[in-house]
């Protein structure tokens, strides 16, 4: 490799510094989850599984985790179904107001969750949706539509429409063409948008906070227990989430690489 100049070395160093600043906190979190001490501070006091056992004994936390998973799964499923259909319609048909619709569907993403949350709370009350996990699912699914629609549309724009004609030409009706030609071609986009939606929904606080009733989700639970300081239990569940996220990322990269 070519010898780097002093300022180039400096820039490489800067990049590594930024990376360290990003990932060091996560490393510290994982380390403290195995630390045999009630306080989250150095020096370390020895290895323990205790905090993980505590997580699995804490029914409140487990319920919150379960709620979060249910909300994220349902919201992702709902938003993927509606978003994919919307993208297909936007891609295939011309109608007045199409441009407006395409931009408007991205708006909830860029609005602060606080605003979206209050707005939805008001509106849902008017139309009779009570504060509940169902309301949270509907709220998340709506706000996340932009992610799915934009991803799937970008993918559809890249696929050759002649393939759909070829499929019809070879005797396949519209439904069969969708499942055998369109779906395989947009699968990576759906998978990617799904993973992103799941993550965004899983750790969402403001909208959830306004729309949920008595049920709480994991981020809200953690937020509320923080008033008593960071407990090693939170480090433990945090570490588990990091692990699961990592597995999901590896899985999705593997799935996407196989196509093409």
């Amino acid at each position: 490799m070519k010898q780097l100049l002093w300022w180039q070395k400096g820039m490489v160093g800067f990049v590594f510094g930024v990376l360290a600043f990003l990932y060091l906190p996560i490393v510290v979190l994982v380390v403290f989850s195995f630390n045999d001490s009630k306080v989250t501070s150095f020096p370390l006091a020895g290895f323990t599984w205790h905090w993980y056992q505590a997580v699995f004994a804490n029914t409140q936390m487990l319920t919150a985790l379960k709620n979060s998973l249910i909300v994220a799964l349902c919201a992702t499923g709902l938003t993927l179904t509606i978003g994919t259909l919307a993208a297909l319609v936007l891609d295939r048909h011309e109608f007045p107001g199409k441009g407006l619709f395409r931009n408007a569907i991205l708006l909830p993403l860029s609005l602060p969750g606080l605003v979206t949350g209050i707005a939805m709370l008001n509106f849902y009350k008017q139309i009779g949706i009570p504060q509940s996990l169902t309301a949270v699912v509907i709220g998340h699914a709506t706000a996340l539509l932009g992610v799915v629609v934009s991803q799937v549309m970008a993918r559809l724009a890249k696929t050759d429409h002649r393939q759909l004609e070829a499929s019809a030409d070879l005797g396949a009706g519209p439904v069969e063409t969708f499942f055998r030609i369109t779906l395989p071609s947009i699968r990576p986009a759906i998978l990617g948008a799904g993973l992103l939606s799941f993550t965004l929904s899983f750790d969402e606080i403001p909208v959830t906070y306004f729309l949920t009733g008595r049920d709480i989700t994991l981020p809200i639970y953690i937020y509320s227990t923080l008033r008593r300081g960071i407990t090693p239990e939170i480090n433990a569940i945090g570490s588990m989430i990091v692990l699961v996220s990592l597995l999901l990322i590896i899985l999705s990269v593997g799935l996407l690489r196989d196509r093409k």
Binding site: Q163, A166, D169, G171, A172, G173, R180, I181, S185, K260
Partner: protein
């Protein structure tokens, strides 16, 4: 057309918004024919093909295929299959899966167990028996072309529609595939309807050619008909090259039309059929470059040499006919009776033209 019609268009038109892509068009194609729709881009040839394939529905008129009115039928309810211009292969399937697609669709009457055998047979027919396991992305242009053919042919269509099938290939490969197309047409006995803008391709492959321009059919005929008896300067110039020279019609003398060339000389043309030209009217005469023989005698076209281009087996001679404002071309066999000094720019030159090789058209105001 000798056999019974398999495709009939009856007063078909197609508009996209205010643009009329196809004016009222009627023609039919006989069973087993190889017909070409020929014309420049935007002439309506691809629209016509897409109307027959069912990818567009006509604004008015009726389309029949194999004795059935299919005007409103979607593509999957028509006994035709298409080879698309960019092949439109399915990238997520192997070659064999692509080819098998038309047999695996719902409603296919072919038994699952028969599919591999038929796929192998069709792949063998197009010379790709070793390629079944590959993805389209790993194939060359010519191979993709063959897969597209195999995929369409496995459905045993009554008519095979080909949309500029060879336009994406380089010249050498195109010639190979032309021979291949002709062989498949002969062996399968299926009707072929091909769209192309390449007149040599159309002349080489078709039984009949439909020449189109600006959404209208200009002339339908065998390659020989179109070459020897074009109805219009447009067809004359599109099928092969033609020198078009503006002239004045003088009248008929026995079996000849007499035309005054711009330089004043008279030219005789063997009168054919209708005539219908008024003495004194402005006309266009057409003479093919290969029909100009450098010689003296009767029926002469005279001018001055502008330039010569060496073409290997022949010489292309550019000359300005006396009194004309546009140059004309002659194609001369190599070693013709002309010396190097005769071909110097500015030299006078004269060509004898047989009266039956002169084409005569009414001058249409542009």
């Amino acid at each position: 057309m000798s056999s019974r019609p398999i495709v009939t268009l009856d007063g078909v038109t197609k508009s996209f918004g205010s643009f009329k892509a196809l004016h009222e068009t009627s023609f039919s194609i006989g069973e087993g024919e190889f017909v070409t729709l020929l014309g420049p881009s935007g002439c309506g040839k691809t629209t016509t093909l897409r109307l027959i394939g069912g990818f567009e529905l006509p604004t008015s008129g009726k389309i029949g295929i194999a004795g059935q009115d299919v005007t409103q039928n979607p593509p999957y309810r028509r006994p035709v299959n298409t080879v698309f211009q960019d092949y439109a292969l399915f990238p997520h399937m192997t070659v064999a899966e692509n080819v098998a697609y038309g047999l695996t669709v719902r409603g296919s009457t072919v038994a699952r167990s028969d599919i591999p055998g038929q796929v192998a047979e069709v792949l063998d027919m197009v010379g790709l028996s070793q390629m079944g396991g590959k993805r389209p992305g790993a194939l060359s242009g010519g191979q993709k072309q063959r897969v597209a053919m195999a995929r369409a042919l496995i459905r045993k269509p009554r008519v095979l529609l080909l949309d500029e099938p060879l336009s994406a290939l380089d010249v050498k490969l195109r010639e190979v595939m032309q021979v291949e197309l002709k062989r498949l047409h002969r062996e399968l006995g299926i009707t072929f309807l091909m769209v192309t803008h390449d007149q040599t391709e159309a002349l080489a492959l078709s039984n009949r050619i439909v020449v189109m321009e600006a959404g209208r059919i200009r002339q339908i005929g065998t390659p020989n008909d179109l070459y020897d008896r074009p109805f219009s300067p447009y067809v004359a110039d599109f099928i092969g090259a033609t020198n078009l020279i503006e002239a004045r019609y003088l009248g008929r003398e026995a079996e000849f039309d007499v035309i005054a060339l711009p330089g004043g000389a008279h030219l005789r043309r063997k009168a054919a059929g209708n005539g219908g030209f008024h003495p004194g009217s402005t006309v266009l005469i057409g003479i093919r470059p290969e029909h100009l023989r450098p010689a003296g005698g009767e029926n002469l076209l005279q001018g001055r040499v502008v330039d010569t281009l060496f073409h290997g087996d022949s010489i292309r001679l550019e000359f300005l006919p006396d009194g004309a404002n546009q140059p004309a071309f002659a194609q001369l066999a190599r070693g013709a009776s002309l010396g190097a000094e005769d071909l110097m720019p500015g030299q006078p030159i004269r060509f004898a033209v047989a009266p039956e090789d002169v084409m005569l058209f009414a001058k249409v105001a542009a």
